[in-house]
């Protein structure tokens, strides 16, 4: 009970750099999900009771094209251990081309991060559609595992 209260408090205050990592081995991951595919996919994973690690904090956005690369840098700056961006598969975007623009920006950012001293593996972007609850579970499990590896070093 106590533990839970602490967690809610922490979550509402945002992420504190170098703060208490909380439970579950403690990595903190911010996920930016598009409203139409990945958020629905994550929701479906929840309703079909697929177990996933609890390290992910989801932020819902209208489209993966809404993701400003600076969101990700800001999340890292404020103490996130990992950032995940997920949207519709290419050619499936609700706004027809948002994820194509996103792909270019995010790939650029991914290549640039190591140059300023942020491990490339701490960031990833994935395409998960609304029906791919199973895929979402795998993505979360694998990504959390990867972040834990990076964190442990």
């Amino acid at each position: 009970m106590n533990n839970n209260e602490n967690n809610t408090l922490e979550a509402s205050n945002g992420f504190s750099p170098g703060g208490d990592p909380g439970k579950n081995g403690g990595v903190k991951i911010v996920a930016f999900l598009c409203n139409w595919c990945s958020y629905a996919g994550a929701d479906a994973a929840g309703t079909s009771r697929l177990r996933q690690p609890e390290n992910i904090r989801i932020i819902r956005l209208p489209c993966s094209g809404r993701v400003n690369p600076l969101f990700i840098i800001k999340a890292f700056n404020q103490g996130a251990d990992g950032v995940l961006v997920s949207g519709c598969h290419p050619n499936d975007c609700h706004y027809s081309e948002g994820n194509f623009y996103a792909r270019r920006r995010l790939e650029f950012l991914k290549e640039f991060l190591p140059f300023i001293g942020i491990d490339k593996r701490r960031f990833s972007y994935q395409w998960v559609s609304a029906s791919e609850a199973q895929k979402w579970q795998n993505v979360v499990i694998n990504f959390v595992k990867r972040i834990e590896d990076v964190h442990a070093k």
Partner: protein, 323 residues
């Protein structure tokens, strides 16, 4: 006839067509030249063009184009011309209202390097003789090898006498005679370090940042100026605090807003009062853009900047699959 005389002659011919001309004029400081804005024929004699013209005058052209009705003329080195080309390709300038007067260049000296070499002594005179720089300080005359003191960008310049686009071109007979260097050598030094060392390196550099925004204001492509997101309360991107993290984040704003646009003129690094190696960030970003999207900023007017377009299948992007 030197390139400076030819430039003045050319400008005398065309000055009546222009509303305003931006050029270089002599300064009281021996290592610098000043930008000058000319409207009348009488002032053309004040123009200079020499190896000290390191400033990128393209910085002024966007704001000027908003203020004047007619044509704005601008004196450019071939490398500066690419900044104007980039602005044109993004539709930020009117081609009809911009007259690019490009003068061939034989390399420009970086006054910061000369000052650093002399340990910050006051410099009172500068002359170039037979490939040597005669630099006079208060009590001594120093002879320096000119080839060591060019601006960084001159060591890998390919276009010193062939600008990609121009209205008037003044050829420079003088060969630069600079030994070409590896453009990415300094990036490789950084990248060979471990990720923590890289983080510490940049933290050390940005601990000096005072957020004066000189890098932003001098940049020819950062036309946002005071409407920059760093100055906004809503949305709130950055606090006014001055510390390493904020300085670094501000620089990341610049990198993201200049990705695929930066023409690597090196003005940000030159303007930085704290000597933070900003050009390295820009060089890295340009390198990535070139590799991923096969795009080099400031080369062609008709090519769309990489982040304003996309392809169905991106050949150079390998997406990772975590599932």
């Amino acid at each position: 006839m030197t390139v400076e005389d030819k430039l003045k002659e050319k400008i005398n011919e065309i000055i009546d067509d222009l509303d305003l001309l931006v050029g270089y004029s002599a300064s009281e400081l021996p290592l610098k030249v000043n930008p000058v804005f000319i409207k009348n024929r009488e002032d053309v004699k004040n123009l200079v063009f020499n190896k000290l013209c390191i400033n990128n005058l393209a910085t002024y052209i966007y704001n000027l184009s908003k203020k004047i009705k007619g044509t704005a003329g601008i004196v450019l080195k071939p490398c500066d011309a690419s900044s104007v080309i980039q602005l044109l390709s993004e539709g930020l300038l009117d081609r009809e209202k911009t007259r690019m007067i490009v003068a061939g260049c034989s390399g420009v000296f970086d006054y910061k390097k000369i000052q650093k070499h002399l340990g910050g002594q006051k410099i009172i005179s500068l002359e170039l003789e037979n490939g040597n720089l005669e630099v006079g300080t208060i009590n001594k005359k120093n002879t320096l090898k000119a080839a060591d003191f060019y601006a960084d960008k001159c060591y890998w310049c390919q276009i010193y006498n062939k600008p990609p686009l121009y209205d008037d071109f003044i050829e420079n007979d003088q060969e630069p005679g600079i030994q070409p260097a590896d453009k990415y050598a300094d990036l490789e030094i950084i990248e060979s370090k471990s990720i923590e060392e890289i983080m510490n390196y940049w933290d050390g550099q940005f601990s000096r940042c005072i957020r004066c925004y000189a890098c932003r204001n001098v940049c020819p492509l950062e036309i946002c100026q005071d409407r920059c997101i760093t100055n906004l309360d809503e949305p709130y991107w950055q606090s006014q605090r001055i510390n390493t993290q904020e300085g670094k984040f501000f620089q990341m704003i610049r990198v993201m807003h200049l990705a695929g646009r930066c023409t690597e003129c090196g003005e940000c690094e030159r303007a930085c009062p704290k000597n933070i190696p900003l050009a390295k960030l820009m060089k890295k970003s340009a390198q990535i853009v070139e590799r991923l999207f096969d795009y080099k900023a400031g080369q062609e007017i008709d090519k769309k900047p990489p982040f304003l377009t996309f392809k169905d299948v991106e050949q150079n992007i390998k997406e990772e699959n975590l599932s």
